[in-house]
Amino acid sequence: NAGVTQTPKFRILKIGQSMTLQCTQDMNHNYMYWYRQDPGMGLKLIYYSVGAGITDKGEVPNGYNVSRSTTEDFPLRLELAAPSQTSVYFCASSYQAEAFFGQGTRLTVV
C-alpha cells in the first residue's frame, strides 16, 4: 500500500541547474498538489491538478512548472534553481476532502 511516493528524498543543486521532483500515487485520486514548506511558515501551495491534463497555479508558482499526463504522476520541474527554492517539497493527492501526503523531498540550492 504505497500511497503517495516522492523521489528523491534529498537533493543538492547548484544555482542555475534544473531538476524534476517526482510524485506518483497509486490511489487513483484525481486531485494532486505540490507544496513547499519553509521553517516557521507552514505549507504553501505551488501547483495543483484536478485531473490528467489539467493543472493550475497555487500561491507560490514562480520558478516552477508541472505537468499531469497521467492520473498517477505529477512531476514538479525547477528550470533554473535559485537559493530561494531551498525548501522541503511535499506532494499530496486527494480523495473527496481528505489529502494524503508523501514523505517529502528536501532540496538545497547552493
Partner: protein, 114 residues
Amino acid sequence: AQSVTQPDIHITVSEGASLELRCNYSYGATPYLFWYVQSPGQGLQLLLKYFSGDTLVQGIKGFEAEFKRSQSSFNLRKPSVHWSDAAEYFCAPKIGGSQGNLIFGKGTKLSVKP
C-alpha cells in the same frame, strides 16, 4: 482574504498534562477543517477532520478537536500528553468545498517534558 492563525509557535507541556492547540480561520463559510501532525523529517499525517455535524470530533492517538462556529475556531485537545506526541501540528482549513485547496497555518511545535 482567507487565512488561518495558529497563535502559539511553540508550546512545552509536561508528560501527562493536558494540551490545547489553538486554531482560528477567516473565511466566509464554514470550511472543511483538518489537523495534521508532522514528526521531524517526516511527512504529514492526518489527526482528525471536521466536515459537518457533531462539533466535537475524535481523531487518532487520543486527540480531539472542537469546532466553534461563533469563534471561527477549531482547537485541538488531548487530555494526557505522551512523550511521543512531540511534533509539529498544523491546522488546515479546506477552502472551496471538498475539492478546494488546503490553507495551512504556520504550525505549533509541541515539546514534551519528562
